[in-house]
């Protein structure tokens, strides 16, 4: 069963002149077709302006295409009457946490969504506590949200979505401002939500090492999906990724550079362990 189905989706932002008259369109998404099965962990990669954030906004009906359809659990996202079902199914976490915090106290912010779902107080309490624990911010529950650091705020924003218990979470560069420790805690949180609760994860990111942890990587360029495969198959195409302004993990880059020098090494290495193993084979063979 697919939680998200995108069929021949096209989207353009209107271009206006100085008087505000529409004089044309800026095509951001071009004939996108994509199926995401329930429970999958998908990363969407692409440089700025590739259309990946615009696509993400179609997954819960923030944007609706000029032509083509997006279905969430079979519900057409352009159906206004069902939009709350869509938004309850697919939660979004955006890039900038400052724009997502609504309350002054951490736990009140996290409680915002469950309160709006009309849940009884004890359930709200339980959801808020478990969401805060999931992002390791429980001890900050009574702190003032705006006094936290950028990374801490982002974790609160993620907790706010987790508290809604959506079936699918779309995260648009959630770790951009976090330190390595913070990034790891977010990544392990995401993976735990995916594995233990079966929540479908769509992670939009620039970080190659994060995309490498997904089950599947979708690469976008210039409004189209240009690659869609398991991480190893994607990152071994170093030339192609460089062409569209994307990096590969350092160890993959190393393997690629060595191969150019005539060394017979597999490019399907993403982690230092995999790379070390390959190198050991080569050194021992010689």
């Amino acid at each position: 069963m697919n939680i998200i189905e995108v069929k021949n989706l096209n989207f353009e932002y209107p271009v206006t002149d100085d008087e505000g008259n529409v004089v044309g369109g800026n095509k951001v998404l071009k004939d996108i077709n994509l199926e995401i099965p329930k429970g999958q962990f998908v990363a969407v990669l692409g440089h700025n302006g590739s259309g990946k954030s615009t696509l993400a906004k179609h997954f819960n009906g923030i944007l609706v295409g000029n032509s083509g359809k997006v279905y969430v659990n079979g519900i057409d996202t352009s159906d206004d009457e069902k939009i709350y079902d869509v938004r309850q199914t697919v939660g979004m976490v955006f890039q900038n946490p400052d724009n997502q915090l609504v309350a002054t106290i951490v736990e009140e912010d996290v409680a915002f969504a469950p309160e709006n779902l009309g849940l009884p107080p004890e359930q709200i309490r339980e959801r808020v506590d478990s969401a805060l624990n999931a992002v390791d911010m429980y001890k900050y529950r009574l702190h003032s949200a705006h006094q936290l650091s950028g990374g801490q705020k982002q974790r609160i924003a993620i907790a706010g979505v987790i508290a809604m218990r959506p079936e699918c979470i779309v995260l648009d560069e959630p770790t951009a401002m976090l330190d390595p420790k913070g990034r790891k805690s977010i990544m392990s949180t995401i993976k735990r939500l995916n594995k233990e609760l079966g929540i479908t994860i769509i992670l939009i990111t620039h970080y190659m090492d994060e995309a490498a942890q997904a089950e599947r990587v979708v690469v976008m360029d210039n409004g189209s999906i240009i690659m869609d495969d398991v991480p190893k198959k994607i990152f071994s195409q170093v030339d192609r990724l460089n062409e569209v302004g994307l990096d590969v993990p350092q160890v993959t880059q190393l393997a690629y550079e060595l191969k150019k020098e005539g060394i017979d090494i597999s490019l399907e290495v993403l982690t230092e362990e995999e790379c070390a193993e390959e190198l050991l084979k080569i050194v021992n063979k010689n």
């Binding site: 440089h47 700025n48 900038n96 950028g150 401002m177 420790k181 350092q250 190393l254 010689n286």
Partner: protein, 287 residues
Amino acid sequence: MNAVETKNLTYKYSVGTPFETTAVDDISVTIEQGEFVGVIGHTGSGKSTLIQHLNGLLKQTFGEVFINGRNIWDKDVNIRDIRFEAGLVFQYSEYQLFEETVYKDIAFGPKNMGLSEEEIDKRVKKAAEQMGLDEELLERSPFDLSGGQKRRVALAGVIAMEPKILILDEPAAGLDPAGRDKVLEEISSYHKNSGTTILLVSHSMEDIVKYAKKVLVMNKGKLFCYEDVDTVFSMSEELKKIGLDIPQISKLAHLLKQKGIDIGNDIYTVERAKERLLKIIKGNTDA
């Protein structure tokens, strides 16, 4: 001459409340003129709080701050002058753009310095060029530009004041790899051309390794160390303990060493790893 000097710098916030926290704890450090310094530390380690003292945005609870040899809180020093000397570019600086055109936005700082129209014009054009912004962009609205371009406009606005010290808080965060490289390359060439002292706050060890000569490491409000790049990144175990990470390629070098292949303790770039490995592999073949 020292560009920046702090003596026992300490900053506490929410003093007298249950939330009283020492964000910066007894920091004494000296940064020489013309240095390119990477500032690293986990979230909440005090690095943002520290840099906000260097142009007087925050006033320390104890200690002293000297910029170009002057105690910035001395009664004879006008703090406004210090802010022109030490330019600070915040995180997500594109949100600070506000003018109708790119030109006016970059001109805002120089205008406030009371410079002549002619000098302002010269500086705006020079700063735009240094940040790789085409002259045709100057009459555009800053809000029509891409994220990377906006970021470079914000940087040009600070550079146009020609500060002797340029402090950048995560200038590449949130940009894609191409935008990130462009911003950092422009900063690096500006550093080389102008000799400006640069403090670059970043979470990216790869970027720090590539651009900085020295690294200032913060941990829990304290100065963990201030050393050259080689020294800092050879302490990988210590860095891990304080929530920092080393580049993936350095991790590979450590792992290879454990498995009996020694390519050195000074591997931070793919380039160097490649050279050393080629020597080993081809050396074996020759033998």
